[in-house]
Symmetry: D2
Subunit: 311 residues, 4 copies
């Protein structure tokens, strides 16, 4: 694609999708998220040579929330290996809500179903805590800085405070798993990492760069360095496809078909394998917690460009 | 009943029921409980004049565990009134296990089903913590000392340590409810009271005296003092009948029909309204967590004496 | 009680409770039930000598619905014995709705929790069908005629047609249990009996006479004949207490404390052991499916007369 | 690929995967399935020009079982359109068993989660029955004959009889949905079609040919005729990826990554988009109901040939 074509494509997709923001609403579970601009919609696309294009409100700053679960997964796969990850966290989608606790009691004796529901992300961090120890948070932050190429990535202190203040369901998910012997790490330390990893401030270019690395199977376009293996990239793409958008992941696979991970901050990280990484932001959410205009923007890009894995 | 008849009755019931201990097993969820004598079986009956009869291993010391939930309920009814108790904790039995978390997600948005499952007892303590404040533990201990007439009641420090060390499912139940806004009290403080109230060392005479007070609708035989209202006594008797023996409460109502509350320490507190309070201990448990020989002992007493509410 | 006192008591209870009908609504699950008079409220009390008193709209005719499950239970206990009944149907209350199917999958491999939820009543009829054969329906009808003393008891053909037309959830409950090998009887034949047993037309005096028989442990006041054993009566009283009013049975035990069974036709059958049988009708239902004014009427009788089992 | 290379590839994959059959067991839910040869393993690959290669026990005849759900889905998409299909059946995976009934009660008021669990396939047939009428079965059979190119496709009468005789859980799933107004079609007629569609006798070449049509987006290699749209093909590929192997679909996507649908007859239909259709048979099943050696065979093909969608 020539640059001008990409830019026009993104400008049009933003313009066409932006009205969808009206149908959704801001996340309310922590007060800070309600301060976002509901009409904002921004996108960034990065190709495998590191070129990038941006459109709309691309300079919106937002918290990464569940999108960081992709980085945690990659780090866990690299640190502990896929076999250990799968022995402790499942790879199956659930039709329950992202913060549901039921299946921990009714299935697999405390083993969470996948790493992108809250229970699974907590289990992943606990597994890493047992492997890496107290330096886990700085190791994860450093890894995320590397994947995004943004060395100044930092936490939104207000959001972090809110996550801690309102995180009791996550505490329940953690203690329940600890009680079922899913992990042995200290719950408070595990949740401290979890809350930090939700509270990082990012822009769409950060998500797009991380996505482009997955699209290139872990190889950095400029340095040629491998930040994770093709195996880890494949694992991330599978789980983003099957479980990336909460309990509308199947519908998203039908409508869009691009491996993606959403967060309640309005961000979506999307991978067009071998071609592009995409970052989207749109704080107005649908009833499952996904950016409503962001999903529509991706749907339009996927349809016009044939980017669905299943096309 | 003349004294000699009662004594013979109890001696025979212990002898007949003791072999049932072989069919059960000791609670294993905390290490201290496995140290109990599996064959032990003791009983104490107290009448409304304060006379008592004892048989079997009546001098066995055991931890009160869930039997203390009766005292907590009475204290909550007296302190907050039945309307407030019922507005925050249900009165319905569940067919789930005593420490199940599912219904908190699927029913009533975090309101626990009854005060005798773990979730409900935690909610009760939280409600009291909000009403009474930091002195709750000493207030509850003092109340229990009054109800049992045992001023030397104290905590088994090893059991308390174990309860805390292994209490993660209870922590999950507490945090989940806090996250659902069932209560606002501090979870750590609430659980500290909860764990203390499970770890108290008692003998059957303590349970029997508390039961006799319920049998007399709160009026102390010697002093004539009312430790709780007839309304509170009625409420306790109802809930012991419908929910007192975990998820075999219905079967127990059929087979025995005496309002009772069991604990995994092997204790059972039973109320023959207007007649007797009974305390039983038998650490060997059935698969629901009830004293297997203790239930059999009560079944024999109920059948021979016509003590079932439903006879 | 002298006759005039009882009559005045009932008249006052009807007058005081009738306004509660405004807070409820008619059952809508079958069209015929919506034709009832929402403001109707009637009561009949029968003592153990066969005397009766009536007040309010005692001549309202209504369908028996779930109240017939008491007769089915008594017949099953007499025909198959309590051990067989308990081996095939549980005695535990559930906090799920009366027509819930979940627990058949998650607990006990298809064994229903108790005989008063739909699943359990269907299993009871299936067990009887296996024991009695094709004559079951006429045997059950004959038994119900005997218990009520009403030899002209007959089916409301419109309601029966509606039950069949709208009975798919009950069909699902039956087939699921058949599929789990809970029973082997023919599902269509079982449901035919079930639907008939819901569609019988009764008045409060019919329920009160059946209730009086339970209050007298099965012995008919006039003839002295035993229609069921004291053991069966006890079993019915226990299950009515723990499971008789759907998922507000616990609340009803607290507020009223009289063993009772309700139906969505607005009827309630209540037993004051050793004293009275009571029949109530009030078609306006609360959100659990119980007669809202009928429950209030019973609550007032229980409080003023001290009829609670737990008083 | 040259023919000899493909043949050698398949021969080796069969030889390497066959020992895995030892770890599984035959389906037992209907007696006929236990008569299969547990060690059998066969495969057929068809390219988009209609060439085919076969290895192992490719001439094993087996019943299609749940693999036919792919044909039903395609027919429904072509007949009713994707919007109507999605309005009545979801596209989300569940972590429950393929014949679970729980989610019909707890989620979406009777709308099944996806078309590949039993509840969803039944709903799909019911929707078609409403649209097509009584000729549905012959229409579906004819469609399947067209997709497989096997005009002699017929039902195994013994299996059909067994499906009907043991189909009570499926009856429960159907009646429950009817009771929740998910559909209005006649349950008996719907299930008759369902049971027929499970009982068809096939060989791996039949599955491979149907798969090749999906791989070519509906266009027949020889005739150029379009048997379904690219849109329908995409929808099938998505759902096979997310939900095709019961509750190990996510694990299969990680390990194999080829859109596939399994059946308890031991068959698997797999689509390598734009390249191949694959049919596999191996009656020895893993604990989720998937052919254990068949999955291993596909895993080896995917790894050596880079056939994963997510590679």
């Amino acid at each position: 694609m020539m640059e001008i074509v990409v830019q026009a494509l993104l400008d049009k997709a933003v313009a066409d999708a932006r009205p969808y923001a009206e149908k959704g609403r801001l996340a309310t579970y922590i007060p800070e998220l309600t301060k976002a601009n509901r009409r904002a919609l921004g996108v960034c696309v990065v190709d495998l040579d590191g070129n990038h294009w941006r459109a709309g409100d691309f300079d919106t700053t937002f918290t990464i929330q569940s999108v960081s679960k992709v980085a945690t997964l990659l780090y866990a796969l690299e640190t502990c290996g896929i076999q250990q990850v799968l022995s402790r966290i499942g790879a199956e989608q659930t039709a329950d809500a992202f913060n549901s606790i039921i299946k921990l009691e009714t299935r697999n004796s405390g083993k969470p179903l996948n790493p992108f529901i809250n229970a699974g992300a907590i289990a992943l961090i606990a597994m890493l805590m047992e492997a890496v120890g107290e330096d886990l948070l700085s190791a994860l932050l450093d890894y995320l800085k590397t994947l995004t190429g943004n060395r100044t990535l930092s936490v939104d202190a207000d959001v972090l405070r809110s996550e801690r203040a309102t995180g009791d369901i996550n505490r329940a998910l953690a203690y329940y798993q600890k009680g079922m012997h899913t992990f042995t790490a200290d719950v408070t330390a595990v949740l401290d990492v979890y809350f930090h990893m939700c509270s990082l401030e990012v822009q769409v270019i950060d998500l797009a760069r991380m996505a482009a690395l997955i699209a290139s199977n872990g190889r950095h376009p400029a340095t040629g360095e491998h930040h994770f293996s093709a195996e880890s990239a494949r694992c991330a793409k599978v789980l983003m496809t099957t479980c990336g958008l909460y309990d509308s992941s199947g519908w998203f696979a039908l409508e869009v078909g691009i491996p993606s991970k959403s967060g309640v901050g309005g961000g979506i990280l999307s991978v067009v394998p071998g071609q592009f990484g995409i970052g989207v932001v749109g704080p107005s959410l649908d009833d499952k917690g996904n950016s409503i205009a962001g999903v529509e923007l991706l749907r339009r890009l996927s349809r016009t460009q044939g980017w669905s894995l299943f096309a």
